[in-house]
């Protein structure tokens, strides 16, 4: 479901979102504020997600548990 292609798809989604928010931002004197805030937050959130995703993409260590009880799911 989620593999390396997710990063590309996520990037495309963000780019589309940026395009939409650039043109769909409400007109008026606050247009710049809308545009920059939407685009910047989209990128910040994408970065955060992508970093987290990549950190788990090819994990070098796996979870270890000492006090797990049998039958736990």
């Amino acid at each position: 479901m989620a593999n390396g292609w997710s990063l590309i798809i996520g990037l495309i989604v963000v780019v589309i979102f940026c395009g939409v928010s650039w043109f769909a931002s409400p007109k008026g004197e606050n247009q710049t504020v809308w545009r920059s805030s939407l685009i910047l937050s989209a990128w910040a959130m994408f970065l955060m997600w992508a970093i987290t995703f990549m950190a788990q993409w090819h994990p070098l260590i796996s979870p270890i548990h000492n006090s797990l009880r049998p039958g736990y799911d």
């Binding site: 479901m1 989620a2 593999n3 390396g4 997710s6 004197e29 606050n30 710049t32 504020v33 920059s36 805030s37 910047l40 937050s41 910040a44 959130m45 970065l47 955060m48 997600w49 970093i51 987290t52 995703f53 990549m54 950190a55 788990q56 993409w57 090819h58 994990p59 070098l60 260590i61 796996s62 979870p63 270890i64 548990h65 000492n66 006090s67 797990l68 009880r69 049998p70 736990y72 799911d73």
Partner: protein, 785 residues
């Protein structure tokens, strides 16, 4: 008015408080004020006289009553002595006096000239009064006193005081006169009391009737006064506002310069280009309304002075802009870092504060403050809360982003959120107490959103999340700093100084990217390779970076092919950038300077420096008032007009004419050293994102374990009670410690990241804030009341 405590109507009940005052308004106001003042003062005066009379009468009544009591008592216990002396009313008193005060030797002496003084004195002075009397008269007196149970209210100060009635008997006219003087000097009020009881009764009677009359008159006066004051109180706040506005208008008018040749006033001020039309139409309106024959002319003045910086804000952007302005006012038309701050400030906060639950609490608090915005704006808030209220939109953004980062970290009040299927599986066959290792459910499946929730409560959770969060902070910091550095390019483009691009931005960018951009690349590259699958050891990036500087060309564990060569090239690129950064700009400027000199140009200010006014003085007056004095045509007959114009031109071109190579060189050396060292220290500084988010997460885990987790281990009624109690404890501590305290600290760290790490990359910040004349600001600065 304070004396009679009549409430003033609150200022907020007037709706048009910001309207400009009209000329007639103020005249009308002053007339009304005068008439009202005279009426009130006459009313007050009569009220006070009446009140004084009343007090006097009351005191007199007390004196009469108490003194009467003394006399009666004295008479009562003197019955047996009466036959030995004559029938005078004084006789028993005399006995009394002699028995207690003076002893036997004076018994026959002066039996006929016993006199007495009666009056009222404040209670706290009684002791002093007694002592003084005793000393001055050497004990030749008999004093009787009693306390008045009610307080006597002084009409002038409106303060009540306890008082005592006293009657002093003594003999000899001089002594009586002395007593009178002493008592008057000590603030006692003396009243005449008749010795005869019949007369006294009449007196009391009379005093009582007079008191009653006076009381009714007083009541009437008080009513009229109150009515008058209430009427004033209703509109006093409004009047004060009008006066304040008028005063401000005249103060501004005083700053106008007077052109005596044309008999006009000239005002010079900065105004935003976008509202120039508004200014013109407003002036036209005012002109029409006032019916002036001479129109008001608005001219745009060409000047080389840097205009003040004015950043338009609304209630959403205001608090963010305040963050930037607290650091420094941006140079005119410089890139305003307030715009990206709207996102980056709350986002960096959220990276440190990442917890879905805590973010939700913060969002709800901010949303509540925004919902009741109008009510809260009017009410008086204490300092801490008003600060939070001021930053309510920041809080909203911080809360919203914290919810997002909470989802990414997979933390809600330190618990996991299993939204998607985990990528890890626990083995099914193990005994309790065994160490179990999770395996990947499907090698092609990565947890799609945020951290996998199976990491929660594992033994090596911290190892994984530390490595992840450390890299996250480096990456975020790199992105933030690169983003900020790019603004310096925009600034250089805007101010048309290409040397700042080639001498500062480009070498700086190459230096930064060849070291830290490369580090970021390595981090991402390392993540993207499946090291277990290709069967090679994963290289340590920290060691790699250290060896890159210490032994260029040697690689311990290779990350990719040709790594050694790439690293050497990158290092050389970074090193080459340092001298460029150091020398290009100052030498270019010197070359530029010499070229213009060679062409024979001289700065006007250079040769005629004497005629120019003191620059600083000029600046102070100019920036303080928002007006400028220079570079205008109509000033011709002004004495120092020529000097002003000269000075103005000199000021504008000053940068090039006052060129001094050594200064420029020192400046650039400082900039270079600062930039190169800061690249390292600032990248390290972003590690605070990791440290704080780790601390926040651990703290919330500890809080959960110490409170609610204990209650879950209990059974029965005790368990129920413990759960309820510990829930409250947990919730209060969550809000106070995790949301308020941790939130404040994360906010301060985010603030620092913006002020130091980001803004040092591009912010010039030598602007002057735009200070427009506004009734609104005026009234906010010194509120009425």
């Amino acid at each position: 008015m304070d004396k009679s405590s009549i409430p003033m109507r609150s200022i907020y009940e007037f709706n048009n408080i910001l309207a400009a005052p009209s000329a007639s308004e103020i005249d009308e106001l002053s007339d009304r004020c005068q008439s009202l003042e005279s009426r009130i003062s006459s009313l007050n005066e009569s009220y006070e006289t009446l009140k004084k009379r009343e007090v006097e009468l009351t005191e007199w009544r007390w004196v009469l009553r108490e003194a009467g009591g003394f006399f009666d008592r004295a008479r009562g216990n003197a019955e047996e002595i009466r036959q030995s002396i004559d029938d005078d009313d004084d006789a028993p008193l005399l006995r009394d006096v002699e028995q207690t005060g003076q002893g036997d030797n004076d018994r026959s002496f002066g039996a006929m000239n016993i006199g007495f003084v009666a009056g009222v004195i404040p209670r706290e002075r009684v002791a002093a009064f007694e002592r003084i009397l005793w000393r001055t008269l050497r004990g030749n007196l008999y004093m009787n006193q009693s306390e008045i149970p009610d307080q006597i209210v002084n009409p002038e100060t409106n303060e009540g005081a306890d008082k005592n009635v006293f009657v002093i008997f003594a003999h000899g006219k001089e002594i009586i006169a002395k007593i009178r003087k002493i008592s008057e000097s000590l603030g006692a009020d003396l009243y005449s009391v008749d010795e005869n009881s019949e007369l006294r009764r009449d007196q009391i009677h009379e005093v009582n009737t007079r008191l009653n009359d006076l009381a009714s008159v007083l009541r009437n006066t008080k009513q009229t006064l109150d009515a008058e004051l209430t009427a004033i109180g209703r509109s006093l706040a409004m009047w004060m506002v009008i006066i304040k506005k008028e005063k401000a208008v005249y103060q501004t008018l005083n700053r106008f310069s007077y052109d005596s040749a044309r008999k006009t006033l000239i005002a010079e001020a900065w105004c935003p280009t976008s509202s120039l039309g508004l200014v013109k139409s407003t002036l036209q309106d005012v002109n029409d309304r006032a019916g002036l024959s001479v129109p008001t002319i608005v001219n745009q003045i060409k000047t080389t002075r840097t205009p003040p910086t004015y950043v338009k804000t609304n209630k959403f952007t205001l608090a963010f802009q305040t963050i930037i302005d607290a650091y420094g006012t941006a140079k005119y038309t410089e890139v305003n870092p307030g715009l990206p701050t709207i996102v980056t400030f709350p986002f960096l906060f959220a990276v440190m504060f990442g917890d879905f639950g805590h973010g939700m609490i913060m969002t709800m608090a901010a949303a509540a403050m925004i919902y009741w915005e109008k009510t809260l704006q009017r009410s008086k808030l204490d300092e801490l809360f008003s600060m939070a209220f001021y930053g309510r939109y920041i809080m909203l953004m911080m809360g919203a982003y914290s919810m997002y980062t909470g989802l990414i970290y997979c933390d809600v009040f330190s618990k996991a959120m299993p939204i998607f299927n985990s990528m890890w599986e626990w083995p099914s066959d193990f005994k309790e107490g065994d160490t179990v290792y999770a395996t990947r459910a499907d090698p092609g499946y990565t947890y799609p959103f945020g951290m996998d929730w199976r990491w929660h409560d594992t033994e090596n959770d911290l190892i994984f999340s530390n490595s992840y969060k450390m890299k996250l902070s480096i990456l975020m910091g790199w992105a933030h700093m690169t983003f900020s550095l790019c603004w310096s390019y925009v600034n250089a483009r805007h101010f048309k100084t290409p040397i700042d691009i080639w001498g500062n931005f480009v070498p700086g960018m190459i230096f930064f990217q060849s070291i830290f951009g490369y580090l970021v690349f390595c981090i991402v590259y390392k993540w993207s390779i499946d090291w277990n699958a290709i069967g090679e050891p994963a290289p340590s990036l920290l060691n790699m970076l250290i060896y890159m500087f210490l032994q260029p060309g040697t690689i311990e564990t290779p990350l990719y092919k040709g790594q050694a060569g790439v690293q050497v090239v990158l290092l050389l690129m970074a090193l080459v950038c340092v001298p460029i950064l150091l020398f290009l700009k100052p030498f270019y400027l010197r070359h530029q300077h010499n070229k213009t000199r060679a062409l024979g140009y001289r700065g006007i200010g250079e040769s005629s420096r004497v005629s120019a006014l003191d620059d600083d003085e000029e600046d102070a007056s100019g920036s303080g008032s928002g007006t400028l004095t220079g570079g205008r045509d109509s000033i011709g007959d002004d004495d120092d007009g020529a000097a002003l114009i000269t000075q103005d031109i000199g000021h504008g071109d000053g940068d090039e004419h006052e060129f001094e190579f050594s200064e420029e060189m020192i400046h650039q050396v400082i900039h270079t050293i600062e930039f190169c060292l800061n690249c390292v220290s600032h990248t390290a500084s972003y590690l605070r994102l990791w440290a704080l988010s780790l601390a926040h997460q651990q703290l919330s885990i500890v809080l959960w374990k110490m409170t609610l987790n204990i209650a879950f281990g209990m059974n029965g009624v005790v368990g129920v009670i413990a759960t309820v109690c510990l829930f409250y404890l947990w919730f209060v501590l969550t809000v106070m410690v995790l949301c308020v305290m941790e939130g404040t600290s994360a906010m301060l760290h985010s603030l620092r990241l913006h002020w130091v790490e980001a803004m040092s990359k591009h912010f010039m910040g030598d602007g002057v804030p735009f200070m427009p004349f506004s009734f609104k600001i005026l009234l906010e600065e010194e509120p009425v009341e």
